[in-house]
Amino acid sequence: MVKIRALGWIAEKLGFREREIHLDKPVKIIDFLPLLNEISEEHLIILVNNEPADKNTIIKNEDKIVLMPVVSGG
């Protein structure tokens, strides 16, 4: 299973805060989260297994994805 966490307004946009999905084969993040097309890269941080990633990073089962906004700490 792929574990996905979404934070802040990115979660609102995607419609979930946490989700688990099963992949039949490795695919790009954007292939199973097409709503990310509506969020500009400049507003989005993607981490895969705690490492910086992007919408085209290839994901396999057991990966952990975090999608979060670029906040600026006040």
């Binding site: 934070l7 802040g8 307004w9 979060m68």
Partner: protein
Amino acid sequence: MKGWNGRILRINLSERKVRTQNIDSEVLLKFIGGRGLAAKILWDELEPGVDPLSPYNKLIIAAGPLTGIVGPSTGKLVVAAKSPLTGGYGDGNIGTMASVHLRKAGYDAIIIEGTSRKPVYIYIEDEAVDIISAEGLWGRDTFETERLLKEIHGKDVGVLLIGPAGENRVRYATIISQEGRSGGRPGLGAVMGSKKLKAIIIRGTKDIPVHDKAELVKTAAQAYSDIKKAPQYDFWMRQGTMATIEWSNENSVLPTTNFREGVFDYYRLIDGYSMEAAKITQRGCPNCNMTCGNVVIDAEGDLSELDYENVAMLGSNIGLGHLGKVAVLNKLADKLGLDTISLGNVLGFAMEASEKKLIDERIEWGDYKKARELVLDIAYRRGIGDLLAEGTKRIAEKIGGNSIEWAMQVKGLEVSAYDCHAAPAMALAYGTSPIGAHHKDAWVISWEVRTGRFDYTREKVEKVIELQRIRGGIFETLVACRLPWIELGLKLEYYMKLFKHATGVSMTLQDYYTIADRVYSLIRAFWVREYKEQWSRKMDYPPMRWFKEPLTKGPLKGAKLDLDKYDQMLSWYYEIRGWDERGIPRKSTLEKLGLNDVAKTLEKYVKLSQ
């Protein structure tokens, strides 16, 4: 010159004398306003080595050319003085109607000198200035005092005031306005208290002079519209900075148990969603269309205005996972006039000192009842509160052990609410902030998370300086809130346009960077003049805890900073800024920035590198 009033109001409380003076237009163009103007005044007028709590310190209240005019979130002021907490330059930014009134009264800044023999407050209405007895107000909290003053002077005034913490010279007392707006972390409230000055009330009735009002209004309208179109706008209006609790926990930067850890088991109990459940309204600064003060009902049934910093510092950092109780501590801090960031640090430090038996008092992690008592004891300097009122650096020097390593401060100012075990650029931002460890000049963690947080690169150093130029330079001298830019993506070009329409002066971003560098070098010169031969690059080190004690929890368990690599970043930082290996501006740098007179003076105190 339009855009500025070109006048300073100077009030001497010892002599009860008031006068106005013009500001040289060259000074305004070189330092703009706000922090730039305040630093220039303090450099020119303060005798080095003065006791910050003596009559010889000066309290500066400074606006900038964008303050109070139409434009996004321009209702801000800078307050500045020599800090009683750090012994160096100290300033803070506060959102308040007093900013608008100051400008409408015809001034760009107020200088408060001397000390009154008895408690007073100052009432300013355009040219008329009264110094009035505050005997009946001294000892009252900030909420009650502001209400009483508004009953006398009307609700349509701007008020800056202190609570008992400022009166009792707590070294991290702040200046408060509008029941929850707070500014001046490095003890500016204590400076005001040392002058026996309870409050400043301002009513301005004039128009603020601007160069091209039609274009200014047009540009401002467009900027306001762009802010509302940002994709994150609706969510921001719901949670504001409180969304950062979840974000920080996810990224292991949420300060927990005196910055031992970056994750808190109970973060969901204090996060933005918990806040939303308790929220009843929100407040903001003048001229703002993205208000960030979320008001909740606290555990005692009162209103409390929350944001990320105070919830993280009075919540996870002291092990307290109950938003209503955190809100009580926050409300008390605002009423008493205490800085919530330093307060959360001091409480966390005291809990750790208790655990390690370095103090006699028993204060458990998350002990709300004891924490609540201590907040009051600190403000009134009762019992151990008298020691805790001194700030973590002085407490550590007193109780000894290795506690200075976990006194979470830089130059005496406590760290704000981001853990840096795995954020070297943010550690550098804290280390080199011009007032001590504060995030307002550069907050670089988002960028670090995105680009590789464990690297120590020159690129990171350049990013810190870029942010310091923008946040600490542009926004602190124009004096407008940075949040429309930094949180909702409003283009920086808007600020250059607003500045042009306000003043008639065209400036590029690069021109402005030069001004920011000038202000930074001037402030650094102020610090060096105060510390003289005691100054060293170690003044720019973050707390040793982040180098010596790794995280023990969360996905980044084991992470800590590397001192040699941090030192390399610091050397790059100095090189880019044109400072020598001690962190002192080179003579050639000061001259290049048009600070020849500063170089001449500084040479009397330390040998300057070429």
